[in-house]
């Protein structure tokens, strides 16, 4: 009896050695942002931003001090030297000194402040408060001015703190840190910059506003309609190459709105159908319009906008409708990404309206074109097919199409799985495509002069995305929960991988920052 008593304490303590735990956030966001010397990675679970730096033996990383703010989105400035980071930080209205962590603050006392931080060389160089609903940044052509605004089409949740002007746009001069804002009307949808970088034109519902980028003051307001009850939402907009005229297409309308920015004179012309998109070519000074439901492409001579008439438009018939355009100097590549049975890709020479038709095996999912315009690569998506022969086999699979504009040939290829990333590389005498395939731990290195002979380059893990870096290399993000990125040099296909960085901050506390500040 007495011996059995000896076992009781051992039974009482028990063992709690293992278990499963679900974490709603991922440890890292594979949508990274790279400057010339580092890669920045969001850590959603830790609420931190880290700077990953490549080293000869791999890489190292450090936490970027955002003064307690957690990043929510980021984008790289055009010159590749800065990263703009949307961030938010918690504030507890209850000033009890015992409240140190976010979890200790009652939900009704907890508010989130939002700001846009400029990060350079791993440090926050400037920060400006922005409204919580702003989710998009546009940059001037020279990269010196950033414009933050709410683009509702992005689809993120709109957060309102008290009162909000959804039409506010925020201007930030990245050189001197000066900021300004302007209310441009309801639901701004696109920002264009003048070629000389002195002004920005913002499209919103029923209104166009021009803002001076030196003073951030509105210098022009032009309504898209004189009927206050009418809602006119721009669907597309471009500036003519000389910056004098703004071309606007409108949701559900076949009209083209043309605003002379010097005289503030509107001209409206009929395109004949509702356009899907428009693009402008500076070499021929023409504008190109395609239509999802009409088998034609319209080319407009920008030099004759003031006397717009049906004669101003050169309508060219297509066999299938196109809804997308890729532009190169003096040339437009037209294709359709929406239909289920469209296989045509068209090259339109804008100088003489010559049209070349290419047929690819499956519908186009996306298209990339070399800057020279000599080659284009399309990702092809599967389509339904009743055929059991080789055509049916190809129809049911993802693929690539290489379109050679010099020889006017299009070659369609089948891929092992869905392409999840595509980048093009071009040098003096050759061009390559770098293709990532879903779930497969290799990279396809496709010589575009002989696309059937692709080389497989082993990767350390299945990839998720590829992006071009400012130094000409590429960054591949992998499917690895603790973080894995690979730097790829396209000249010799050498790789450097950095892993494990997503563990940074895994054990960090959600401390209330900036307490005690005025």
């Amino acid at each position: 009896m007495s011996k059995s008593i000896a076992l009781i304490p051992l039974l009482l303590t028990g063992c709690y050695g293992s278990g499963n735990h679900y974490i709603e956030d991922s440890l890292w966001n594979t949508q990274t942002a790279s400057t010339a010397d580092a890669t920045y990675v969001e850590l959603p679970h830790a609420g931190q931003l880290i700077q990953v730096t490549e080293t000869p033996d791999g890489g190292t990383w450090s936490v970027v001090d955002l003064d307690g703010a957690e990043p929510t989105a980021m984008t790289v400035a055009p010159d590749g030297s800065q990263v703009l980071v949307f961030a938010r930080w918690p504030e507890c209205k209850d000033t009890d000194e015992e409240i140190l962590n976010v979890i200790d603050c009652a939900s009704e006392d907890l508010t989130w402040n939002t700001e846009l931080a400029v990060v350079e060389d791993g440090k926050r160089s400037s920060v400006s408060e922005i409204a919580p609903h702003m989710n998009t940044v546009a940059f001037s052509d020279d990269g010196t001015v950033a414009v933050a605004y709410l683009d509702y089409a992005v689809g993120t949740e709109v957060e309102i703190d008290g009162l909000a002007d959804l039409g506010e746009v925020r201007f930030i001069n990245l050189l001197d840190g000066s900021v300004g804002s302007a209310s441009v009307g309801f639901s701004p949808s696109k920002v264009l910059f003048s070629a000389d970088g002195t002004s920005a034109v913002v499209m919103s519902r029923s209104k166009v506003v021009k803002v001076d980028l030196n003073t951030f003051e509105k210098v022009l307001e032009a309504p898209l309609t004189l009927d206050a009850d009418a809602q006119v939402d721009p669907s597309g907009a471009e500036l003519t190459p000389d910056g004098s005229t703004l071309l606007i297409t409108v949701e559900g309308s076949s009209d083209l709105y043309m605003l002379d920015l010097d005289t503030v004179y509107w001209n409206i012309g009929a395109l004949g159908a509702v356009p899907s998109t428009l693009s402008v070519d500076s070499v021929t000074d023409t504008s190109v319009f395609v239509f999802a439901n009409q088998t034609e492409v319209n080319v407009l001579d920008n030099s004759r906008l003031d006397i717009f008439s049906q004669e101003s438009i050169d309508s060219i018939a297509l066999e299938e409708p196109a809804n997308s355009i890729e532009m190169a100097d003096g040339m437009a590549l037209l294709y359709n990404t929406s239909g289920t049975d469209y296989h045509d890709v068209y090259r339109l020479d804008l100088s003489n309206s010559d049209l070349i038709e290419y047929v690819v095996s499956n519908p186009v999912s996306s298209m990339r074109m070399l800057d020279s315009g000599e080659l284009a690569v399309a990702i092809l998506r599967p389509e339904s097919s009743a055929s059991n022969d080789l055509d049916g086999y190809q129809d049911a699979r993802w693929g690539l199409a290489v379109i050679d504009m010099a020889s006017d040939e299009a070659i369609s290829l089948v891929t092992e799985s869905e392409p999840v990333g595509l980048e093009l590389v071009e040098d003096d005498d050759s061009a390559y495509a770098l293709v990532l395939l879903s779930g497969l731990d290799y990279l396809l290195h496709v010589d575009l002069s002989s696309p059937g002979e692709a080389e497989q380059i082993d990767l350390p893990a299945p990839p998720l995305s590829i992006e071009a870096l400012p130094d000409g290399r590429f960054l591949i993000a992998h499917d690895a929960p603790l973080g894995l990125i690979t730097y790829l040099d396209p000249t010799d296909l050498s790789q450097t991988s950095v892993s494990g960085f997503a563990a940074a901050g895994l054990f960090s506390d959600d401390v209330l920052p900036r307490t005690g500040e005025e």
Partner: protein, 210 residues
Amino acid sequence: MILITLLAGSALAGSADGIDHELSVELGSMYTSDDTWRDLFDSEAVSAQGFRAGYSINPNVAVVASWHRGAHDSRLSFSSEQSVNMDFTIHQLAVGPKVDYQVFHWLRPYATVQGVGALGRIQLDEDAQDDDNDLLRFSDTSFGGFAALGAEFVPGSESRRLHLATHIELGYGKVFAMTFEDEDAGNTPIEIGDLDMQGFTINAGVGVRF
């Protein structure tokens, strides 16, 4: 205050029965109130196993030392359907006085206060089945202490020279924050955060007195 009184009262006493050594194997648990711990593990306790040894410097006062290895592993699953295996281990070396009082020959309640040195380690692995994966290791050392009240049961005849003994103790302990750094990072250690263990402890053991 009780402990101080017992210590003072027994300091000059001698060992009456000549049984002044103890050796036990122990199981225990240490609870932690750390927010980060609760965020990553499904339990608030770390179970531990180890040894305890003691030497009586007089009939009511002994010096005890113990080593415990605590471990807890967690499989972290994410919304992306990925997962990570996280293993936490802690080695604790504790030493301090234990003051007891013999109520019966088989029952000796006691109190103890001990200082603790701790080595914590965290290992992260994306896929335990994949030997090619890099294992990430983070560690740190810290110190702390605990105080506990317990009871020792010594069944059997009082005249024997070797006694089977068992004990159980409850207390409160704290290990100051361990800031985990990458063990393989060389001169530029990389931190992943810290863990502050503080909470109730329970230990139980079985062993011998001789």
